[in-house]
């Protein structure tokens, strides 16, 4: 009879409590610890190695064994490590947002053409010298490095505004994705033309920028980078509820009370701000944006954006710090192209994690 439930079933039901879609504070704390360690290591290693306890002494305001170390840490390594951490966090979170919004595991922070816009801005500034014999930046009266960032910001910002304007009008996210791709192709085409008519040294300068680097950011520029990325990350945190609903697709999200248009604009604004500012100051950093979200989902086995957003920020920062550390080739004076390093170390790592955890199937039905 159905009255007597076998005791085994009863006990398994009571023994396995309801799964708790919790916030995973332990995992996040572990990730924070890893990031802190990577941060300290990147302050310690470089062309000159500074012992870790000396780094701590400097950071706490003490006197290190050698006075030059203070200068090295404060003027070179600290801004660079901060930039790497911020950029990694920004790209990780931005990639996560794009993958969820477009429900596409191959989406990355640059699908809307933000990096192409920045590239176009930089190309215009760097390559236009061939025509006028004075670069646009000297016309603008800005020092070289700052104006590169300014040009990239203008390019990324223009694409951001275009994307937002389109997001207001366009009904479907897939259309938006296609339009973003088209914007990207357009910008690349103009860059190609500029490259074709430019001189060799200028082309080299452009290519160097496109390798990506965390090293070029000064403390002055940090005053722009920190608040922009900070605001973008806060906006991303505020949008986690909408992102969670969007996991089920736009129709379901709407039926659960999400204002799709508003959410989409918020997500695009946050994502483009994050990706745009990173590209402006560090060049087009590929790979991190697409890989970090997959890595985090696999590590946490969760789809909850309340956990994934902080996790992507922390893991992204850690990955960027490690990539930068390797690109420095500690103990030598060689600096490898950052983009090559991220993919060289990152791609096998992600492949290994995804295959080992057997998660490829689960994400977005792939």
């Amino acid at each position: 009879m159905a009255k007597t439930i076998p005791p085994t079933i009863e006990s398994t039901v009571t023994a396995s409590p309801w799964p708790r879609p919790g916030l995973r504070p332990l995992a996040l704390a572990g990730m924070l610890g890893c990031m802190a360690l990577a941060f300290l290591l990147s302050l310690s290693f470089g062309s000159v190695q500074i012992p870790l306890e000396q780094v701590l002494t400097i950071l706490l305001g003490g006197q290190p064994d050698r006075a030059t170390w203070t200068t090295i840490v404060y003027d070179f390594r600290l801004p660079k490590a901060l930039t790497a951490a911020l950029a990694g966090a920004a790209l990780g979170v931005s990639g996560l947002q794009m993958q969820t919004l477009f429900r596409n595991p191959l989406a990355d922070p640059f699908v809307l053409g933000v990096s192409s816009g920045a590239s176009l801005g930089v190309a215009l500034v760097v390559l236009s010298v061939g025509v006028a014999n004075t670069t646009l930046l000297t016309v603008a009266g800005l020092p070289g490095n700052m104006s590169l960032a300014a040009a990239a910001s203008v390019g990324a910002g223009a694409v951001l505004i275009l994307a937002l304007a389109l997001a207001q009008r366009v009904q479907s996210s897939v259309t938006l994705l296609l339009l973003g791709l088209m914007i990207g192709y357009l910008a690349s085409a103009v860059v190609s033309l500029l490259l074709y008519f430019s001189i060799a040294e200028r082309i080299q300068a452009y290519v160097a920028w496109s390798f990506g680097s965390f090293g070029g950011v000064t403390w002055t520029q940090m005053r722009v980078l920190v608040p922009t990325i900070g605001f973008g990350l806060l906006l991303a945190l505020a949008l986690t509820k909408a992102l969670n609903a969007l996991l089920l697709g736009e129709a379901y999200a709407r039926s659960m009370g999400v204002d799709i248009r508003q959410a989409r604009i918020g997500i695009i604004a946050s994502s483009a701000m994050l990706a745009g500012s990173v590209t402006a100051f560090c060049g087009p950093i590929a790979f991190l944006g697409i890989a970090i979200p997959h890595l985090c989902r696999a590590l946490l086995r969760s789809a909850d954006h309340r956990v994934l957003v902080p996790a992507c920020a922390l893991v992204g920062a850690t990955a960027a710090l490690i990539a930068d550390l390797v690109a420095q080739a500690p103990g030598t004076n060689v600096v490898l192209p950052l983009n090559a390093v991220t993919a060289l170390i990152g791609a096998p790592t992600v492949v290994w994690v995804i295959l080992r955890r057997g998660v490829g199937r689960g994400t977005f039905g792939v």
């Binding site: 309801w18 509820k241 089920l248 039926s255 009370g257 989902r297």
Partner: protein
């Protein structure tokens, strides 16, 4: 009669493209749905069932007229206010990885939680109640993409329940399910409607099941004509038959189901009855024959021999035995053959 939870007033549905003329699918609809009622929206493919459903749940604006949800005009409610009164189960596949059934159902609490999406103890209680109500407690720790179609559909119903709506709109909730699962799903929806006093509106192609399970049928016929009534009334009035009439399909008013067969050609007399007789008649009908009683004139006669466990058939033409066979497949081949 229970309280009206969803009603329409002179509703016109269809599409109004920016360029080109408006395409009206149905006009002047005055529909009502009451608490605790199960209404099935039926109609041939392409007649506009989905458009009607989308208009009723606010996913598409009406061309004219109004939709009232819980007494309030749908157009004046915010998406969040609608979400607290109405939830949906769509045919769209969920494609999220690492999402447990529990987390999926918890997403249903979305319109009730604060901006962070934090679940209060009451929210968690609702999620558990919803999982229990669809008998899916054992699935709660499983990943959604690993569930079978039937299990996933139950979990999707639980998600819609957890939203605590007055009305649940389900778009073809029995699609992709096998027959036992379809019956189970309809029974579940009926039970939930009764026990929780919610209104269920579902579109379906399962005519048979809808006839048995629905309190009300909304029958959308080609040309945008809507017949509303108890299933039995619609059958007796002939509306059911007229809506689905077509070549090679006839509706049996006594049995309440459809017969599918090509236009009948040959008269075949069937000698024999019981279980084997019933299935033989079915096979012959499928083969395009008109089955007549043993005493009626016919060119072909099929005589059942053997017993229920090992039946055999004798096919006779013009009084002479043509062949003795051991399966209905061979019988069908014989009566369809041109060698007669």
């Amino acid at each position: 009669m229970n309280a009206t939870v969803l009603a329409t007033e002179n509703l016109s549905i269809g599409y109004a493209p920016r360029r080109g003329p408006r395409r009206v699918i149905a006009a002047g609809l005055n529909l009502t749905l009451h608490a605790g009622e199960v209404a099935c929206l039926l109609g041939p493919n392409g007649v506009g069932k989905s458009t009607l459903l989308r208009t009723l749940v606010g996913m598409q604006p009406p061309l004219a007229g109004r939709v009232f949800l819980d007494g309030a005009d749908l157009a004046t409610l915010s998406v969040r206010e609608i979400a607290r009164r109405l939830s949906v189960v769509l045919t769209e596949r969920i494609e999220a990885g690492h999402l447990t059934a529990y987390a999926l159902v918890a997403l249903g609490r979305h319109p009730h939680t604060d901006w962070t999406g934090r679940l209060t103890p009451r929210d968690e209680e609702m999620v558990r109640w919803a999982l229990d109500a669809v008998d899916a407690v054992c699935l709660s720790a499983r990943l959604v993409h690993e569930l079978s179609d039937g299990e996933r559909q139950r979990v999707m119903v639980a998600r819609a329940l957890a939203q605590e709506p007055l009305v649940m709109a389900l778009d073809e909730p029995t699609a992709f399910l096998d027959l036992p699962r379809r019956v189970e799903m309809m029974r579940l929806l009926r039970r939930l409607a009764r026990e929780t006093d919610r209104a269920m509106l579902l579109s379906t192609h399962d005519l048979d099941l809808a006839l048995r399970a629905a309190d009300t049928l909304w029958l959308l016929a080609p040309g945008g004509v809507m017949h509303v009534g108890a299933p039995e009334d619609l059958v007796l009035g002939g509306a059911f038959e007229a809506t689905f009439a077509g070549d090679g399909i006839t509706f049996d008013r006594y049995q309440g189901h459809f017969h599918i067969h090509p236009p009948a050609r040959r008269r075949v007399a069937l000698i024999g009855d019981g279980l084997v007789g019933a299935w033989t008649a079915r096979a012959l009908e499928r083969a395009g024959c008109v089955v007549v009683a043993a005493n009626e004139p016919a060119l072909l006669r099929v005589v059942i021999g053997g017993d229920d466990r090992r039946p055999c058939w004798e096919v006779r033409a013009n009084g002479a035995t043509l062949q003795r066979v051991g399966s209905l497949r061979e019988v069908v081949a014989l009566v369809q053959g041109d060698h007669l």
